[in-house]
């Protein structure tokens, strides 16, 4: 069966949108992903993509960010479990272990200029678009 990729992409986006609506309605707020695949938010402006992902309690040195094929961003790392001495556990809901999340951005980025920082347990990446991907205003010559 032949599926027009454009139609497929549109359908896929709608399905994803529906799933997010559903999650929101249930108050799961992205947590359905489980912390092994942390939730992502991405914003865009003319110059860059701004990606944020929830990594509470993760040390900066236990996270790796890589950009491959020009537009694929991968965030991997590990969160250690709390290990208090002589403690009895009553609840253990917080994720411990390795996590990974990968995302293909809609345009290539300049991998050398990616900036990453942690703020309140949120990893924030600024990924400048490569020169070729930036919008350009074309001057129209008068007759």
């Amino acid at each position: 069966m032949f599926i027009n990729p454009k139609v497929f992409n549109t359908l896929w986006r709608e399905m994803e949108g529906f799933r997010h609506e559903f999650d929101r309605a249930l108050g799961r707020n992205g947590q359905s992903y489980g912390a092994a695949t942390p939730a992502l938010n991405v914003w865009e402006d003319d110059a860059a993509f701004h990606l944020e992902t929830d990594l509470p309690g993760v040390a900066a040195d236990s996270v790796d960010v890589t950009v491959t094929e020009g537009n694929r961003v991968t965030v991997t790392g590990e969160r250690k479990a709390a290990e208090p001495a002589n403690a009895v556990w009553h609840r253990q809901e917080r994720f411990a272990g390795t996590f990974t999340r990968e995302l293909a951005l809609p345009a290539p980025v300049d991998a050398d200029k990616v900036e990453a920082r942690f703020e309140h347990g949120v990893l924030k990446l600024t990924l400048p678009k490569s020169e070729a991907a930036k919008p350009r205003k074309i001057a129209i010559k008068a007759e």
């Binding site: 707020n29 939730a39 402006d45 929830d54 309690g57 040390a59 709390a82 809901e93 347990g121």
Partner: protein, 127 residues
Amino acid sequence: MNNQAVAERNQEVAEAQDVGVLARPRVDVMETENEVMLLADLPGVKSGDVDVRFENGELTIHGRRFASNANKKRALTEYEPTHYHRSFRLTEDIAADRIEAELKAGVLTVRLPKAEAAKPRKIAVKG
């Protein structure tokens, strides 16, 4: 998206910031001889935006996460501005005046020391 559409979207974001979705933060609860310790994941919450209360043996956590990048176009949204809310009833006798809470790297740590009367005591047996 044209400028007007972006402005409308941002207006929606601003409204959502006021409302926010309600989420139950994930927690770890541990107990040692001297205290009960609770860890809660509150990513994106600043220390000024979290409220920890202990009343009648009930611990309540409320944190607010506000929208970021309000002036930029959203490309992918998996989480929203959030009200993190959860409460617990503690059966142990807690020394309420010595409860400590700290928010660091998006993780809230609450230490609830047990009241002296509730601590285990080793009783020397005479004989």
